[in-house]
Amino acid sequence: MADTTHLRRLYAGADFHAEQHIHPEPTSFVSRYVFSMDHKVIAKQFLWYGLAFLALGGTMAMMIRWQIAHPGTAFPVLGELLWPESGGVMPPQAYASFFTMHGTLMIFFAITPILIGAFGNLLIPLMIGARDMAFPTLNMLSFWTNVLAGTAMIVSFFVPMGAAAGGWQSYPTLSTLAGQPGAGQTLWIAGVFLTGSASIMGAVNYITTVVRLRAPGMGYFQMPLSVWGIWLTAILNALFVPVLAAGVLLLFLDRTFGSHFFLAGAAVTKGGGDPILYQHLFWIFGHPEVYILILPAWGIVSDLLSFFSRKPAFGYKATAISMSVITFLSMVVYGHHMFVVGMSPLLSQGFMTLTMLISIPSAVFFLNWLGTMWRGAIRFATPMLFSVGVVFVFGLGGLTGLHLGAISSDIYLHDSYFVVGHFHLTMAASVLLGAFAAIYFWFPKMFGKMMNETLGKWHFWLTIVPITVVFCGMLVVGYGGMQRRLYNTDAYAFLQHLHPVNVWVTRAALFLGASQFLFVVNFLSSLVAGKKASENPWEVGTLEWTVPSPPPHHNFDEIPLVVNGPHEFSHPEVKGKDWLAQNEPIRSETEPAARAAAGS
């Protein structure tokens, strides 16, 4: 049991942190809903924004899958609209833009705004007992900078020669002016630079807020794991997005001013640069980026498993430390994306060994997830279903990382659909299911209404099954030998026998896409006509549930004093209910006896 003696002494009337003031409540429509500085409003802005791009990126994925399974046939409705000159059939150049932009939009404009922008903003101040972020104006700027970035990306579809089409990583020399002559690639760079800046602004805000604005009694190890996840993500964002910025800046200089950072090959006359340099810079960012994308979901799932098992998070401190160790290790493993580039074997081996080390902290927190559920009293509400779903798909996806971390299996699997299956399981499926878990769980707090449980449960089952089929199917065709980014497999005899698998993957993908309408209907109808939510419908103890749903502008009438950890469920001394709020002391006469009874 967490030792809260020191906190109780605080409560007894000794020293307190100072109160926080709050920016005045906005009055005009513009200051309330457009240029709001309120983290709760900005969270909603990011949520709508991210969901819109999720829909766009998802539709693009459906169209990509359609082309793979039914090459030469038009995608219903949209095909005719977009490519009338080819009878609605997606041309290969468009296909290349589509997979490029699908990746770009999903990573930077769907996952990042939803998990980090929306839930980071919503949860951090409320869960640590603060009135708002440390820098509310910066927060507002972060959202609008992102909107500028998204605009650049959307505009890039409509310029001559269309959007960037060199893969979302945009490796030179394909992404140089010679390889991608249109403005699309340059707009991509601008969009990435802007969204990167927005991420850094947000990261600085989140880190400072957690460091400085925690309520009295909220030590680092009393914070919910959701906050840990988002905070660690912010640290990685702050440190590594700038490296991407450096890389794309140099690419921009190559494209616009004729510099030679990445130019090489037959076309270069005046002493070439090094395209592989870009890959180093990109993956120094890129590997931490994948942890940036998953850490919030890990944190959220760690909390939700505890909440719905009515049991403290198993090994809370070990989980927080494991996540921190992984955060650190993620900085030194990036070379496993470059095993076939021609790096020195010694360097490759070093990266392989470091990569394998990540298994240890990963196993620890994963086992802690299982330990949390074990001997719980599990309530299978929709958020719990999605959380267990994350455990499932992340377990599967994480294990496929082993195939890719070992050099001699990676050489064959590199740039194949096995990689696509792996990162979609770990990054897309896990994060998406985690996002749904978070939305179903915090929707009442954000909007003051409950979502529909029945629709939610159907949404879960009709999502988890096809999502597993889709990405396991990719693992299969990947091992079968199919490379990524193929418009069709007609050229290769060795791929023909995999076509039926691809057809099934497409069918499952289309089914998956259709199932999301259950969510859309649930979300929108609940906003309008959902049952009114009480202050704490899920009966959990974190601080956001001690204020009304939705919270007032200033969050807390009084800054709470934290006396418990975030997962005090089923405490033997607490009668009549199985949870304790973080600012709710246990009324106990004999504390030493109670501690003995808790038995740890």
Partner: protein, 196 residues
């Protein structure tokens, strides 16, 4: 029963510390970006073997050295004017700001004095990797000098009116931190690009 905490307004010390932490993180970010650029320089230079690459004249050193001294002096001046003790001396902050703005402008002018003749002589950003690195790094840095000067310029009206008096105020301290950072980056850049 929920616990209740006392209500007192935040001390200036607390919000100072918050701004400081924020700025430290922001500078850590910026350092990583410049770090990425220096990494690029290191990789390209290691790959190139001979440096400067064949056929390229070595860079001038006198003006850039003078520039380094100009920036270092400007940091010293700013630091003196932004200290807490300066609280007692009216006009100290304004004087420091003006001096730093002047010295910073001198830096930019001297940079132009280095770039323009080189550019005219045919050594440009598209003159292979040496030109790419030279202009890419130094111009990007100069943009940050410009940003730093803008941040300091914005403080001048407040300093003039007496509303801003010293580094005790977050806005002043944070802007000064950024200026010192830009200066430190230049020192590294000077050594890496001109001396090594």
């Amino acid at each position: 029963m929920t616990a209740v905490a006392a209500a007192r307004f935040p001390s200036t010390e607390e919000s100072r510390r918050t701004s400081f932490v924020g700025m430290v993180m922001a500078l850590a970010s910026w350092s990583m970006m410049f770090g990425g650029l220096f990494f690029a320089y290191a990789i390209l230079r290691l790959k190139a073997g001979t440096w400067p690459p064949d056929g390229v004249a070595p860079l001038p050193r006198l003006l850039p050295l003078a520039n380094t001294l100009v920036l270092l002096f400007s940091s010293y001046v700013l630091h003196r004017g932004v200290r807490k003790e300066a609280d007692a001396r009216p006009g100290a902050l304004l004087g420091a700001l003006k001096a730093t703005l002047a010295l910073g402008s001198v830096f930019l002018v001297l940079q132009l004095a280095v770039w323009v003749p080189l550019w005219r002589s045919g050594f440009r950003i598209d003159s292979g990797i040496y030109g790419s690195i030279f202009y890419g790094l130094t111009v990007f840095h100069a943009l940050h000098v410009l940003a730093g000067l803008a941040a300091l310029l914005v403080l001048v009206p407040g300093a003039r009116s007496g509303r801003l008096r010293s580094g005790a105020q977050s806005r002043v301290r944070v802007s000064a931190m950024f200026w010192h950072f830009v200066d430190a980056v230049w020192v590294v850049m000077f050594v890496a690009v001109y001396l090594l």
